[in-house]
């Protein structure tokens, strides 16, 4: 566990060595609250439905890939992966340390959007059930996409490629959970679309939690995908084909 801490500290600090972390957090908060406020002034509802409904796509296609792209790609480009993987630390611990660093960084950025519920508290009488559920879902969703992003980052030494591929794969996970996309796929291969919709797509599970319905199956869905990609990540690195 001490090893995880060592890796975690370096990775977390690394986000703040360059201005990227600050730029990232500001854009994340401004864009998300901005998109929300637009909706808020238009409809004047004291809830956060608009915020959480755009979150999966914004998160999966822009922000998560931006957080995870450097985690392995940069190491590979600099050659530091050779140092890292010849340290007397288990590969799983290195993966976990890196993952936790990205997760905490994400949580800090997410905490920046807590200004919205605070504002709602002063302006109206919001129902805090769905809002708490929404944040819980956002944490689980982020945890899953981050694990996926780090996993993809381990295949490429170019950060931009990692970003694009992660963005596409996360986008796939989001879109497959929308009703229309699986219906089209069902039209081509009957059954495949609804299978993907039920078992792979993110949106259905996220929407449940975001509505305040915390179904254990949805929690298991997020956690098992997170664990799967972290596990695969360690396995891929241990094969050391690159």
């Amino acid at each position: 566990m001490n090893d995880v801490k060592v890796i975690f500290k370096r990775e977390f600090d690394a986000y703040f060595y360059s201005p990227i972390a600050y730029v990232f957090s500001i854009i994340f908060i401004v864009l998300n609250t901005g998109l929300y406020m637009f909706h808020f002034f238009f409809f004047g509802n004291a809830d956060m439905r608009a915020f959480f409904s755009t979150l999966p796509l914004v998160l999966g296609m822009i922000f998560i890939p931006a957080i995870t792209m450097r985690l392995w790609s940069e190491e590979k480009k600099l050659g530091t992966v050779e140092l890292l993987l010849t340290l007397p630390i288990r590969t799983e611990h290195i993966v976990l340390g890196k993952y936790l660093a990205s997760l905490v960084f994400y949580l800090v950025a997410l905490a920046g959007t807590l200004t919205i519920p605070l504002m709602l508290l002063f302006l109206g009488r919001p129902d805090f059930g769905p809002i708490a559920g929404g944040y819980f879902g956002a944490i689980l969703l982020g945890a899953f996409f981050l694990a996926l992003g780090i996993f993809i980052s381990a295949f490429f030494s170019d950060q931009i490629i990692s970003l694009i591929i992660t963005s596409l794969v996360c986008g796939f996970f989001v879109l497959i959970g929308w009703r229309y996309v699986p219906m089209v796929i069902d039209g081509w291969i009957p059954g495949l679309g609804s299978f993907l919709y039920h078992y792979v797509g993110v949106s259905r599970h996220f929407n449940d939690i975001e509505r305040g319905v915390v179904d254990l199956r949805s929690v298991v869905y997020f956690l098992s995908f997170t664990a799967l990609f972290l596990f695969l990540n360690a396995k891929v690195l241990e094969r050391r084909k690159f």
């Binding site: 060595y17 600099l78 050779e82 890292l84 010849t86 340290l87 007397p88 630390i89």
Partner: protein, 317 residues
């Protein structure tokens, strides 16, 4: 300390290391020599557990590099060819990170001070690594390899990018460490390997082309004796005396003062050229200006060993 048995490594259809076997006892300094792309770095990556061999077994300190990778990593200090450094970190932050990752804990402070002194990093500790010169980057990376006082040191091109003074410093450091550590270093500069290593492993096309002490390797390929001699003597007299010694070749040196005659003399390896010349000079009572037994040049040795098939078998001896 380090044993390789029939190690192969394939990258797709390319065989980077082909059936390499050797063993290195504790405390020996071994120089890997070979042209670029010969398989030196790949062999080192296998020993350091970074890459797994496609077949064959490698043990370091009795631990298998695949089965007991963590134990092997504890034993090894590794300076990769690419000098892996985090450009955004300060030098001392980087060393502290490696120290923690290597579980130094209480011993860190004294090791840190030693390594900073040994690698000459005192002046740059608070500098950003990305802003350092190539020489300092190389030394920072070397410090990283030494910080945990490893029993085995694997140095991939340790002197590349350093100026001559720094190269001498690194060589001195390697020799100092030699007593207690097993060291493998790679280079494509033969004179460097000859200067610091007890033993040379010449690698070519993923195979060991030669293995042994530098002098032995030179002797193995050289099939002639060569001496440069310059004496105060009449040229005619010198020429006729020397020609009676069954030489293969003689090349006169024209750039000498009047009255002095000099020449490169070549004979078969079995002819005792030095002894015969000594007799001649004693008999004639000539004054000697210069007498130099000439060794085959390093580069000649290298080319001989890595080309002809005849000599590539030498490694098995």
């Amino acid at each position: 300390m380090i044993t390789l048995k029939n190690v192969c490594k394939n990258y797709g259809p390319i065989q980077a290391v082909a059936n390499v076997s050797f063993s290195i006892p504790k405390g020996e300094i071994v120089g890997f020599v070979g042209p670029n792309g010969a398989g030196k770095s790949t062999t080192m990556k296998i020993i350091t557990t970074y890459t797994a061999p496609s077949s064959g077994t490698v043990t370091v300190g009795g631990f298998d590099v695949v089965e007991n990778a963590l134990e092997v990593r504890e034993l090894i200090g590794y300076l990769p060819e690419t000098t892996p450094l985090y450009a955004d970190m300060l030098v001392h932050e980087y060393l502290e990170f490696v120290g923690r990752a290597r579980h130094l804990n209480g011993a860190f402070k004294s090791r840190f001070d030693w390594v900073v002194e040994a690698a000459g990093l005192g002046t740059v500790l608070r500098r950003k690594i990305g802003e350092l010169s190539k020489g300092f980057r190389q030394r920072t990376c070397l410090a990283q390899a030494l910080i945990h006082d490893p029993a085995v040191l694997i140095l991939d091109e340790p002197t590349s990018g350093l100026d001559p003074l720094q190269i001498i410093g690194i060589r001195k450091l390697i020799k100092e460490l030699a007593h207690e550590k097993t060291i493998i270093l790679s280079t494509h500069i033969l004179s460097e390997a000859a200067a610091v290593s007890d033993r040379i492993l010449m690698i070519h096309n993923g195979r060991i082309a030669a293995d042994g002490k530098f002098e032995d390797l030179v002797r193995r390929v050289s099939d002639q004796n060569s001496v440069y001699i310059a004496v105060r003597a009449p040229k005619k007299d010198f020429d006729s005396s020397v020609r009676s010694m069954d030489l293969k070749d003689i090349i006169y040196d024209e750039a000498l003062p009047r009255g002095v005659v000099g020449a490169h003399l070549f004979s078969e390896a079995k002819v005792d050229l030095t002894g015969k010349l000594n007799e001649l000079i004693r008999e004639k009572k000539w004054d000697i200006f210069n007498f130099t037994p000439e060794q085959m040049s390093l580069e000649d040795t290298f080319i001989r060993l890595t080309s002809g098939d005849k000599n590539s078998q030498g490694g098995d001896a």
